[in-house]
Amino acid sequence: MEVFIAQLISGIKLGSLYAVVVICYNLLILVTGILHLGYASLLVLSMYAAWFVLNATNNNLILGISAGIVSGIVIGTVTAPLFLPFIKRRAILEALVISLALGIISGDVMSHWFNLGLPIAFPSSLQMEGTTVASIIIVFAFLYFLNRTKRGRILRAVAQDTEVARILGISVTKTAIFSFALAGLLGGLTAILFAMSTGTASSILGDSLVIKALAVLFLASIGNLRGGLICALILGVVESLAMGYLPGDWTNAIAFSVVVVILLFKPEGLFGEQH
């Protein structure tokens, strides 16, 4: 029973982190129409940036955390122009292939240029409790931003109807770049929370994260923020229990099986469409 409760708590912690990642995916899909398969790898690249600065500054936490967040924003903004021609043409497949290539490139950079390709470990001073609370605060701050601010309303307008938003004078290109930067900021914050929570990272963490984000996205239905939050928590708990009770590394296979079953038998997701 103690093991079960421990796995449950660990699952909620993990699920709250997935929730932030899923929000970023939803943001990019709704505003730009892109399913960014490389986003999770770029998020892990921010973890590596934070680790690099921590090492270089003798574990200066403020600089390390800032490096993680700033690198997230920079990566998000710098990669945005690669997608813009495809966003304009609504060439979803090409954009998806580009995102896949970006993810694989960043994974390879991490496996060759950092720590001789070995997994990295963050200093114990960075590992703190309270990541669940921090994730919840981030999610609520994002929802507040989306619903209560002018910029948030612009994002929602573009997400709902690009053409009408354009007629109303909204620059869709600028909004797309902004959404990449915002997703980068959220990614940087999540990277730091992951570092605090797990204490380690490796170049293949992005692959596993993207699998789980996709599982949640399709389980909840793409674009459904509330459904995404609930499903992220469920996935975190299921994964944690699987880790506790199943041999080998079957967790990715379980997450992907969920994706396949949902796509084949209930393609609209469990929660239906709701932006």
Binding site: L82, A91, V97, A101, G107
Partner: protein
């Protein structure tokens, strides 16, 4: 023949088959990643049946193709009406489920892989592989230039108009998925026989990247670019200096991005193939006329 020459010829042919398998559904705007998991399944099927049950090469090949087509049947029926994101993600998910299963099942060798297929003489294996390249190439060419090819063009440009004109998109999609899976399985069996075995690391994101780079670099809308792209891309990374070889994935990724940005139709597009075939016809007329 040196080992390098053998591997160059063999892998070029295997990747041409794989890329054609991806090309067929993509031609009708169906982002189907089934060939990747079929290649993985086909390779494991051939290796396991050859080692454990002592099946000869041709039986493993037929068995793998039938097995992969059957495996793809249910997803094909369900995915055909969906297309787009759901098709891409579901087939990619199946690919990673197959890979995870291979990595974790001891009966398939687990993390160490499964080796011990009786080796075929290099010239025979090359002959078989290129024989299949010719057969599959001929079939793809015939399909491209038949009424089915024109139906695929119609779906690519506007699927609603295609449906209005009476094209059964779902049925065509199922057929394409199954053919594509069969070619993927064929590539997998040949791959396993080249290595005399199989290991799970051969089937991951890099394989997807490599397959997609060949397709996009060669040209997504014709079958000919793939024939150039597969040997060039495989060969380039082999002749790179040792220090740069480790970055081959970055090179492929960068190439893929650059191609999509500056020449999204690839090095050989439809206009070029039309011009070339027109030129060839004119030359033939002149030769025959004189």
């Amino acid at each position: 023949m040196t080992q390098f020459q053998f591997f160059f010829l063999e892998f070029s042919a295997i990747y041409i088959l794989l890329a054609w398998a991806i090309y067929l559904p993509f031609r009708a705007n169906q982002p189907y990643f089934g060939p990747f998991y079929s290649m993985c399944l086909g390779a494991y099927f051939a290796t396991y049946t050859s080692i454990s049950w002592g099946w000869p090469f041709w039986l493993t090949l037929i068995g793998a193709v039938v097995f992969c087509v059957l495996f793809s049947l249910i997803p094909a029926f369900k995915l055909a009406p969906l297309g787009g994101f759901p098709m891409l993600i579901a087939t990619m998910a199946l690919f990673f489920i197959v890979q995870t299963a291979a990595r974790n099942m001891q009966v398939l060798g687990g993390r160490h892989g499964l080796f011990g297929i009786p080796p075929l003489p290099p010239f025979i294996l090359l002959g078989i592989t290129y024989g299949f390249v010719l057969i599959v190439g001929f079939c793809v060419y015939r399909l491209d230039n038949s009424h089915i090819g024109r139906a695929l063009d119609a779906i690519l440009f506007d699927k609603h108009v295609a449906a209005t004109l009476g094209i059964d998109i779902a049925r065509l999609s199922i057929q394409l998925q199954l053919i594509s899976s069969a070619i993927g399985a064929l590539a997998g069996v040949l791959y396993a026989n080249t290595f005399c075995g199989v290991f799970h690391e051969a089937f991951g994101f890099p394989l997807i990247l490599y397959g997609m780079t060949i397709l996009i670099f060669g040209g997504m809308y014709t079958m000919w670019g793939i024939i150039i792209a597969a040997p060039v891309l495989w060969g380039v990374t082999q002749v790179l200096p040792e220090a740069l070889k480790a970055f081959s994935i970055i090179i492929y990724g960068a190439l893929l991005i650059v191609m999509l940005l500056i020449r999204p139709n690839g090095i050989i597009d439809r206009k070029m193939t039309k011009a070339m075939s027109g030129g060839a016809r004119a030359l033939l007329k002149r030769v025959v006329g004189s």
